[in-house]
């Protein structure tokens, strides 16, 4: 659906993007992570045709954005970091303007009604944009991206400046949109990317530092699986039992959590939850907690942007 091949971009002497390549499949929600100035927005601006790359190419649905921008842009809906809103217009007039600008061939009123319903701006359609709150402005920005029902949605920090309730709503909306669109979003909020995206691309200093499925990057796919256990019984006996279970590679004692109950961190090279349950159920030990403990995205991100990735 989106193919980015070996793109570079310089601003004067500063190399903003250094031979970036990735591929986004149809229906994926892909998250862009990176520190400020890492090149996330530049990449998004190049994908949408707002900026041109110095070298490399971007294909949207097989169409080159540079050679055939008009055709390629028809497939893209873009919500930049600052929503491109005309403050002097009412929401309705603005959305009609974008509809005409994109030369959409769908029935206008029905299409706009459906989008306004979807993003929750029905109440403010007659109001002038400059008088609206940040949350509504962000939603109108999303609405303009959805006009024309583009297959690809590029969302640059879609939840920035929203309050917690609005963030949750926006995430839910993006998840819903992901069912029928290919979505690329950038965010500084790691938990958001982890919660919403199927795939993550981490950019550091204009280069892709890591990319992969969210599960892979957050630990469970990296070969080692970790389980946090709290078990009631004698600590040493539990420890020995855990150590002797097949595929368990390492057990760490974490200490007593409450009277007679001990916490352990078990590392294994495969899923050992069932075998641990069976082993423990044959004894008097009682499992109080068994919780998969992957490396958080925060840990992965910090690890990668500090340059310590393998």
């Amino acid at each position: 659906m989106i193919e980015v091949k070996d793109i570079t971009k310089s601003y004067g002497r500063h190399l903003a993007l250094d031979h970036i390549s990735f591929h986004v499949k149809k229906g994926d929600i892909t998250g862009f992570l990176g520190a400020n100035g890492a090149g996330k927005s530049t990449t998004m601006n190049i994908i949408t045709g707002y900026l041109s790359s110095d070298s490399g190419e971007v294909l949207i649905n097989g169409v080159n954005i540079l050679n055939n921008p008009i055709e390629a842009k028809k497939h893209i809906g873009y919500l930049p970091e600052i929503p491109p809103l005309y403050n002097d217009m009412t929401t309705e007039k603005y959305l009609r303007f974008i509809f005409d600008l994109k030369r959409v061939r769908l029935p206008r009123q029905a299409h706009l009604d459906q989008i306004c319903q979807q993003v929750g701006i029905q109440d403010v359609r007659g109001r002038i944009i400059k008088h609206l709150s940040k949350g509504y402005r962000q939603r109108i920005g999303l609405a303009q991206a959805l006009i024309g029902d583009p297959q690809v949605l590029i969302l640059d920090e879609p939840t920035v400046g929203l309050d917690p309730a609005q963030i949750i709503e926006m995430r839910k909306l993006i998840k819903e949109l992901g069912q029928s669109h290919t979505v690329i979003l950038s965010s500084h909020i790691l938990s958001e990317v982890q919660a919403v995206c199927d795939k993550i691309i981490i950019i550091r200093d204009g280069k892709i530092a890591a990319q992969g499925l969210t599960d892979e990057l957050t630990g469970s796919g990296r070969g080692t699986r970790r389980l946090r256990l709290v078990i009631e019984g004698r600590e040493q006996n539990i420890y020995s039992l855990l150590k002797s279970t097949d595929h368990v590679t390492h057990v760490t004692k974490k200490g007593e959590t409450e009277k007679g109950c001990y916490e352990f961190m078990v590392e294994s090279d495969t899923d050992v939850r069932r075998s641990l349950y069976r082993s423990l159920s044959r004894t008097d030990f009682c499992i109080l907690t068994m919780q998969p403990s992957g490396q958080s995205l925060e840990e992965t991100f910090l690890h990668i942007i500090s340059g310590n990735e393998e």
Binding site: Y50, L51, S52, I70, P80, Y86, D88, F97, L101
Partner: protein, 234 residues
């Protein structure tokens, strides 16, 4: 292109700018018309048109100052440049909306002419010739103003620089008279907006003058296109 044209035109009247420009133009045109026609007791509007030349120099930057500068400031250029629209279409839409704004102002000439027809016989060919001339010359100033606006994201800077350049353009004749080299004097005189406009104001329509204003307009619109393209590649 039509969507942008419509939006730009309506934006003049969703802010005070359009009303202020139209009001100032109408006020000055009214004053000159009263003093130089009604009070002077003549139906010849030549001096009115000559006087309005300088008013237009000051008003056109107000019309064009926001065209690209404000889009850049508010980041609405991202909506325009990521839409399936060609850059020349965006520029032409902004150009024609500014030209229509100017036409709205100029239409006051017709009202003056109609008013004059009640008391005397106005020279309609002179009036229409001047409307045509004002549109041609206005096109050049609008194209220049749009070009300046594309260079900055500050509307005030765009307006001031356009004012400055318009004043220099209006002074080309004066500058030419102080130059000693004949070739430079000739070149400057050939570029004089005022001389060409005066020809129209007198009712002399010359093809070379028409081509001159169209060429200047095309040149600055082309340069605007280059500025926007260059920004994408910068």
């Amino acid at each position: 292109m039509f969507a942008i044209f419509k939006r730009e035109l309506s934006s003049y009247f969703s802010s005070p700018v359009g009303y202020v420009v139209a009001a100032v133009f109408t006020a000055f045109c009214g004053i000159f018309f009263y003093v130089q026609c009604l009070y002077a007791g003549t139906s010849n509007m030549y001096t009115v048109f000559q006087s309005m030349f300088f008013i237009v120099l000051f008003l056109i930057p107000l019309i064009t100052m926001r065209s690209f500068a404000e889009d850049k400031k508010n980041r609405t250029d991202q909506a325009l440049l990521t839409a399936p629209v060609k850059i020349p279409s965006i520029i032409l839409a902004k150009f024609f909306s500014a030209l229509i704004m100017l036409m709205i102002c100029i239409s006051i000439y017709l009202i003056d002419g109609i008013f004059l027809s009640f008391v005397a016989a106005p020279d309609w060919s002179l009036i229409f010739g001047n409307i045509f001339a004002m549109l041609l010359m206005g096109s050049s100033f609008i194209a220049l103003g749009i070009f300046i606006s594309s260079l900055t994201e500050n509307v005030t800077v765009a307006a001031i620089v356009s004012f400055g350049l318009n004043i220099i353009i209006s002074m080309i004749d004066t500058i030419a008279s102080t130059v000693q080299w004949d070739w430079l004097k000739g070149a400057l005189n050939a570029m004089s907006f005022q001389t060409k406009y005066s020809n129209f104001a007198l009712g002399i329509i010359s093809l070379s003058d028409v081509v001159f204003f169209i060429s200047v307009t095309a040149l600055f619109l082309f340069l605007t296109d280059r500025v926007i393209e260059r920004k994408r590649w910068a």
